[in-house]
């Protein structure tokens, strides 16, 4: 990637420009002001038979409140492990994770809806399990379905909806958990390109409406370039942060706009370099 390119294109990519090290927030392992998530030297090892597999190695980064951070990496970079750790479904072998008491919601590549419940009941269950009284639940469920543009489909069961619609029900359910931080594990990975493109717009709108902090794992570089305020690149086996790109938001981005392509190309180059390391 030539230097001149970087000067000409408007969205400045600044590799490693920001919070790569936790030192810039007084060196503590807890979230500072304006921060939603802070990881400090987080490692996770799995015991597989007799060998120990280091999935995540000394990963440190922080996410600001309301920031949209994409995590990208090739296979074996421990992306999903990282999200599980932040969601508290698993605990790190070493290091600290702090979300400052914020509620964390998790979305997967599969919608993981309960097939015996209608779309509305699926969403309502999230409200119910956090103790929203029955009377308030119905109205809030309707609001959430409206937020993902699914009013009128509440009485359908998951198998009666399309893949994109199911994923939106899952999103409404995640929002229903009243999460401040939404962790998304390749949520659009199984959808066709057209649906995915529309859902990017929807996700952007919903995040703006609700000032959500999002940590979005993907292996689609275009998606990362399209959505992220910042993109964190992970190495593979073990997963380490190798680079960060800050992508300033200058107006509406589109999946096919030149600046997104430009960023995507850079990310691809860097990822190939990383994959090549394992080919030697």
């Amino acid at each position: 990637m030539s230097v001149s390119n970087q000067q000409v294109t408007p969205p400045v990519i600044s590799p490693g420009a920001s919070a790569l090290s936790p030192a810039d927030s007084a060196g503590t392992a807890t979230v500072g002001a304006g921060e939603a998530v802070r990881l400090t030297a987080v490692s996770k090892a799995y015991q597989t038979g007799r060998t120990e597999l280091l999935a995540v190695d000394q990963v440190s980064f922080s996410v600001r409140d309301g920031e949209f951070v994409c995590i990208i990496g090739a296979s074996g970079c421990g992306k999903s492990t990282l999200l599980n750790l932040i969601a508290g479904l698993d605990s790190p072998t070493a290091g600290q994770i702090d979300v400052g008491g914020r509620k964390v919601g998790l979305m997967f590549q599969e919608p993981a809806l309960f097939p015996w419940l209608t779309a509305a009941r699926n969403v309502e269950l999230a409200l119910q399990s956090r103790g929203v009284p029955r009377a308030a639940r119905r109205a809030e469920t309707a609001d959430l379905l409206e937020a993902v543009r699914l009013s009128g489909f509440g009485s359908r069961r998951p198998h009666e909806l399309s893949g994109g619609m199911r994923q939106r029900v899952a999103m409404a359910r995640a929002l229903g958990q009243n999460a401040d931080v939404l962790l998304m594990d390749e949520p659009f990975g199984a959808l066709d390109a057209m649906t995915r493109d529309l859902l990017h717009d929807e996700l952007e709108r919903i995040c703006a409406e609700r000032t959500l902090t999002v940590l979005f794992v993907t292996h689609n570089v275009r998606e990362a370039a399209r959505l992220g305020d910042r993109v964190i690149l992970l190495s593979s086996r073990p997963g380490r942060v190798i680079e960060e790109y800050v992508l300033p938001r200058t107006g509406q981005r589109r999946i096919d706009s030149p600046e997104v392509s430009e960023v995507a190309a850079r990310l691809t180059d860097r990822l190939r370099e990383e994959m090549g390391r394992h080919g030697r």
Binding site: A87, L89, L198
Partner: protein
């Protein structure tokens, strides 16, 4: 705004068009397609039966379909005790025994599914019990309870409960891990996790276990009733037993038909429940 509209358009395009008004002619044709092979099969069986009777084989005891159905008809109209009373006695035992088996099987199944030590201890015993022919429990029952209704219930419960427990255990075991992860993310824990996730997810396997449990309960009940003679309570099994003593082929056959019909009716109810459960979860092809 454009994206919003496009999204709604895409939703409408991707949804299956809703079914039009039901065509009564189509339903009738479907029913006929399902019915005629059964009618033909029954007709063939009756024809073979009649042919065997006409051939004179065992002519002293064997009766053709005609006398058997007229015996059945007689029993229905003016049997003493009446056929309906006999069916009532048997069904009452069936319902009580099956209900007890349902409770015991469900509680044991749930405990075994939840507690690893218990599973290690009795998991394989449950599988073993399922393969036990129910008739072997009858002597045990008589030793323990004498020739009483308790003996019959004992046999029915031992016949049905293992299948029900096994169904529930396999349902709990095969709860999709992804749904468990989703449920835990939502904050479902302990009892709520079972109430809202694991039990509903287990329902199809549980119903399959209940269906198999019913089949075993019905067999066990017949075995128990034929062997165990209770004074003053005339059941289907006992009635066959009496027919056997009187070498009454027509009477025994009439009872066999009753047993078959009740078994089929209950099995159909379970099948219907199973089918609608699967349809609601999108586990069935909706196109016919």
């Amino acid at each position: 705004m454009a994206a919003d509209q496009a999204l709604r358009g895409l939703d409408n395009l991707e949804l299956q068009p809703t079914e039009g008004a039901r065509d009564p002619g189509r339903i009738a044709r479907k029913a006929w397609t399902a019915l005629w092979p059964k009618v033909l099969a029954v007709a063939l069986i009756l024809a073979v039966w009649e042919a065997v009777t006409l051939s004179g084989w065992k002519h002293l005891v064997l009766k053709g379909p005609g006398p058997v159905f007229s015996a059945l008809w007689d029993e229905m109209l003016h049997g003493s005790p009446s056929l309906w009373g006999i069916i009532g006695v048997t069904l009452e035992t069936a319902v009580v025994g099956y209900a007890a088996a349902l409770v015991i099987g469900s509680v044991v199944g749930l405990l075994v599914a939840r507690i690893p030590v218990l599973r290690a201890a009795v998991g394989s015993i449950i599988t073993g019990l399922q393969t036990m022919p129910s008739i072997v429990w009858v002597p045990f029952g008589i030793i323990l309870f004498g020739e009483s209704e308790s003996t019959i219930l004992f046999v029915v419960i031992l016949g049905a409960a293992p299948s029900i427990a096994a169904g529930l255990i396999s349902g709990v075991d095969y709860t999709p891990p992804l749904l468990l992860r989703a449920g835990k993310t939502m904050g479902l824990r302990g009892f709520a996790l079972y109430r809202y996730l694991i039990l509903p997810a287990s329902l199809p396997a549980y119903v399959a276990g209940m269906k198999q449990g019913w089949a075993f309960a019905w067999r066990s009940l017949m075995a128990g009733e034929i062997v165990v003679q209770i004074v003053g309570q005339f059941s289907i099994g006992q009635s066959i037993s009496v027919d056997q003593q009187n070498l009454d082929f027509a009477g025994a056959s009439a009872m066999l038909i009753v047993i078959l019909v009740i078994g089929l009716v209950v099995d159909t109810i379970f099948t219907k429940a199973d089918t609608s459960l699967r349809r609601r979860r999108g586990l069935l092809e909706t196109a016919t």
